[in-house]
Symmetry: C2
Subunit: 184 residues, 2 copies
């Protein structure tokens, strides 16, 4: 065991809560999970087939019409596998921010360009923050309906907290660069 592909664990995690199609899994990746994890079709579909081969998930035909549709559910073995992974310590917590990379090399592009990058970053965060706040609001209202909700809320609070810190940093960083710019 031990060596567990992350994609397997994410899929089992999602399936532990509800039965899903590959398409629905991708949608969850792009909404609820996108702030801290990602996965593409190119990894989801092969991994789904793989889970079935290993008896960790089951595939059933979910078509109600002519359209192709396969619904996946977790097996007992799958739930065991998931629990094993859940109890192991987290291995990778990493940030990959191209904005910071460009800023790090900022001297090559100059102050105005650096400020433009910070501005663009700030706008992106300002645009996304309301969705997190809305999710927080919704989750607080339904917190008692499902035990899983409090865990979802935890990740949303993380997002809100860090996004607000980002916005503070944006202002301070621009102030610092602006000051430097005037002196020249």
């Amino acid at each position: 065991m031990a060596i567990e592909k992350k994609i397997d664990c994410v899929l089992l995690g999602l399936l532990s809560h509800e039965d899903l199609t590959g398409y629905e899994i991708k949608k969850r990746m792009d909404t609820s999970l996108k702030y801290f994890w990602g996965a593409s079709y190119g990894s989801i579909y092969p991994a789904l087939g793989n889970l079935v081969d290993r008896g960790l998930a089951e595939k059933r035909d979910g078509a109600e019409n002519k359209r192709n549709k396969f619904v996946y559910s977790i097996t007992e073995a799958g739930r065991g596998y998931l629990k094993e992974w859940l109890q192991a310590p987290a291995e990778r917590d990493e940030l990959r921010y191209e904005t910071l990379l460009k800023l790090f090399f900022g001297n090559e592009g100059g102050v105005q360009q650096a400020i433009a990058h910070i501005d663009a970053f700030q706008k992106k965060i300002e645009k996304e923050l309301p969705y997190l706040v809305k999710a927080e609001d919704t989750l607080k209202k339904v917190i008692d309906i499902d035990d899983a909700h409090q865990y979802y809320l935890l990740t949303v609070e993380f997002g809100i907290k860090t996004y607000r810190a980002y916005l503070e940093w944006c202002e301070e960083a621009k102030a610092m660069l602006g000051k430097e710019d005037k002196q020249k």
Copy 2:
């Protein structure tokens, strides 16, 4: 042009400041840049050869003894390529936190396990934060020696700001889960 591999841009960015060997580049990735970007030997060495082939960097023998050693420097064409990338908007700013992933599926593992994950995360951040604070201190002292230093400082300030937000979140998250746990 347009389609630029990130690894090429990082290498040129580092080489724009000083001549480096592949090994030294990897060291910088694992220290100064590790908080917001990463790269492995498996991408660095092939990319370095590729840059030379395209005339964006130059390779020279830097051995002072029997040991293999090749020093790379940026060319004028390379500097042009770098500037083009720097002026384009940042494409990907993403977080990949396994801690949050495990927390999101926390209902499957229970409150105590979730708290343990938050604790481990908190300890990791508490351990790394002093290095960032030290880097901030050092950079502030040498800020006038090199124009590049203020940009390095900016990324360090980002790290400090977000790490402190993480620590606040850790406390709040544990309080929330602890409260929930007692009620049961």
